[in-house]
Every structure is written in structure tokens, then in C-alpha cells.
Symmetry: D2
Subunit: 139 residues, 4 copies
Amino acid sequence: MKPYIKTAKYYETDQMGVIHHSNYIRWMEEARVDMLSQIGYPYRRFEEMGYISPVLHVDCEYKKSVKFDDEVQIIVRLQEAGRVKFTLRYDIYNMSEDGVLSAYGTTTHCFLKKDGRPVLMDKEMKEFAEAMKNALEQA
Amino acid sequence: MKPYIKTAKYYETDQMGVIHHSNYIRWMEEARVDMLSQIGYPYRRFEEMGYISPVLHVDCEYKKSVKFDDEVQIIVRLQEAGRVKFTLRYDIYNMSEDGVLSAYGTTTHCFLKKDGRPVLMDKEMKEFAEAMKNALEQA
Amino acid sequence: MKPYIKTAKYYETDQMGVIHHSNYIRWMEEARVDMLSQIGYPYRRFEEMGYISPVLHVDCEYKKSVKFDDEVQIIVRLQEAGRVKFTLRYDIYNMSEDGVLSAYGTTTHCFLKKDGRPVLMDKEMKEFAEAMKNALEQA
Amino acid sequence: MKPYIKTAKYYETDQMGVIHHSNYIRWMEEARVDMLSQIGYPYRRFEEMGYISPVLHVDCEYKKSVKFDDEVQIIVRLQEAGRVKFTLRYDIYNMSEDGVLSAYGTTTHCFLKKDGRPVLMDKEMKEFAEAMKNALEQA
């Protein structure tokens, strides 16, 4: 697994002169999408197969603000894998500030089938659940 | 027709200390959606009927920057109504700065049917096209 | 205290057909800015006085997705008021879906002076801290 | 000059199932910031020197919608270089759709000094103006 790398955009700043806090939630999504591609399960394929994957919970702890044009590196790990829900953990490091930890957080997800019923991860998505466990360091 | 009124949000600012220019394009959409509701053709109904309405063109001329918490008022007018395309014109006034004209611009749209064919506005959406003409002052 | 009311925007949707989860974090900010104005301490005045108010933590639990054009109502309450930090709690109700609770979450904040030192809320912002306590129902 | 390359993000989609049109304006900014770095004049340095660079005008013509996870390539060219204003032209190609032209547009800018007076590009920013002319193919 390669960490996800991105450069903070100008339109992501606010008038405090730093990246607006809501964008970290979007960066977590970027890192998650990248991770899914890396392990061979690109997110767009889940939607093509008719699954919906709502976000059930997010949290983020902000340690040190990120500035425009800073390069951040995001490490995604698996924090918890339940039957229906799984939680990913994200550590966001600012490589333009000596790799300081800027923020960390989690997102919790499930998959829903077309009829709205939740997918049992350990049965109906066993291979994917295994791939995620094997690829992601435990948080 | 009542003008569309909104307050500039903090998350819409950038580190220049003003509203980021991309948000004016979003404000035009807010004003357009509000206008369609006012004339009795809420946008969500078009999508429910299976129409898609892509944006074909936008432009915006920025005259005076808007700041966080400023109240803006947007006037929507009909600039051009063709067989397939129509163009709306938006004037954005800053009511927190004595009503100065902050920006103006246009958006051009068409409607597509499920099969991708463009709707002939003067035939297949005659009532709606008339309602828009009657409600909106000509630009 | 009046609840904060807003209509979900088209540009806030994603291809799942619902409001993208990151926007709820922005809505909490909208509700917070509105609350501060209602209690007589508009946020822009804090910045004019040279204070910076970083967000230290956010979390959000998503219960039921909000759709384009839905009207949501957000109740802000005070969850915790410490010497340096305070936590607000937000309940987001969907008035277009019989007032169902769509999401709830919290944000934690502090104030920093120009020199970067944190403001002692109970000493240096006593009046504001009191106003917030008195106006906001305890969560 | 290398073209600017980016992948369309999930949070940039809307419920039409494509990238929301406002994001193309943000992508033009991303491409512009990247171009300035490539020619040795990173944008953050202009702000550090006290210059402000407002956007005066944008327009965008949408030809073919971009989808989530598509890779786009953006070519920036110099369309016009005046004494005070300059206009950049952007062509956005979708590499996930055989390189089809998805959209094109322009942005017009000037630079302002701290006192609000516009910079005379051919006098006060001569080197930068030359660098931009030399690096960017004429549109």
C-alpha cells in the first residue's frame, strides 16, 4: 500500500489562511477511493454492481493546520471490521512541515443492496473484506 | 418574481479574505433553482420526469468582491430563448455594500430526454418556456 | 433561539443522489455562525478583534440521507464548556421528511489570541461564555 | 510545460451522475497554480510579496461530461497579455474517454499592489510576463 499524496488547493483555503476543516473529510474520501483502487476493488465498480455505500459516521481531530500548496500524505488503516460495518482510520501528515501529523480521523461505512438491505461483509463480500484486512495495517 | 437572497458563508471564503470566485457559479444555480420554484416548475420535478438538464456554458464577470456574512441579492432574467437552448442572466448585488453590483454572468442550458435527444423547447416544453418568458424580465 | 433553517442545494448532492456527507460539516458551521449572530456575538467580530477560532474536532453520525431541495432545521446546543475549549452539539432534522432526525454531531473549538495563546474562556471571554450558556439549551 | 493531470473526485459529482459544472472552474485554478510552479513563479510567492491577484472573468464551455474517477488532462495557454490584464485559456481533455475535449474556458486576471493599484505587467512584472509568454503556447 502506497500512502495517498495530494497538494492542498487554493480553493480549499478559507479566510483564516488555512485549509477549511470540512475539506479534510473530503481528503479522507480521496484516500479511501485511492486505497480501494490499490487493492483491486475500485469504488466505481461497487456502484456499477448496484451497491450503495453510505457513510455512517465521520470524525476528525485537527492538530495543526495545513496551508495552501502544502503536500499531505494520508495513511489509511483498518480500525474495525464488523459483520455489517467497517471503520477506516486516516492519519494526515504534512510533508511540507517536516511530516508533522496534521489531523487524524475515522469513517464508518456499510454496503447496501438495491433493496436497501445491508450486505453481510463476512459472507457476501468475503473476498473484498479479506483483501482489505490483508492490505491495510491494523490501526 | 422575488430576487434570490443569500448570505455568504464562511466556508465559501478563501485566503484572499473574500468569497472564492467559483462559488458565484454555485450561487447562480441557487438563484436558478429558486426561480424555477417561483414560477411553478421546481427543478426536481424535471429530473423526476426523466429529463436531464446539462449546463452548456457559464460566464461570470467579477466587479467587486463579496465578503463573509455579506447579504447578496440575485436577479435572474431571460437573456435568450432558442428552440433547444436558453440563456439566463444573473446580476449579483451586495446588499451589505449599499447594493453595489458585485458580479454578473450567464448560464446556458438545454433539456435532454432519456434517449439523449434534446427537447424542442417551443414544442415539447411550450408551457414552461412561456412561463419563463412571462415571469422573467428580458435582459 | 430560533433553529437554523436551510434548503439543500443541488451542488451539494453527489452521484448517490443524496447530499454528500462532507456538506453536513459545512451546515454545522452555517448553524454555528447563525447562532453567534442570534446571541449578539457575530463571528466576523471575533476575527475583526484579531481572534482566531480553529476547529479542534468534528464528528457526525448520519442517520438518514437528505435529498436535493429538502428543508433541514438545525438545533444547536452547548454540550460542554471548558476553560479553553467548548463543544457544540447539532441535531439536523429533515422537515421535508416529517422532521426525521437526519444526522447529529459535534464541533469543538477554542479561541486563540494574535500571539497564538489560547483564550481562557471563563476569564477573558466571560460575557460571551455566559451568553452562550444562557441562550443554548444544554445538550 | 507538462499538462496538468487530475482524477475526478467522488465529492465533485452531483446527482446527475457527472462532475458538477462549478468544479471545472476550480480545476482551471488547479491547472493555473501548477503552471505557475512549473515556470518558476509559484502563486504562493506572489501572495507572500503582498500582491493580490483577483479573478476578473471566467467562462467555460461544456462539451462532454466528465465522470467520477476519470482522468483529465488540462492544457493551459496564454490567450491575451495586456498591460494590466492577462487571459489564460484552458482545454480539458478526458483521458478516460479517448482524450475527448470535455470543456474549454478562459480566466482573466490582474495583480494588485497592497494599496489596491493595479500592477503594470509589462513594467513591474516584466520578467514574469516574459516567462509566461515564453512557456505557454499562444492560444
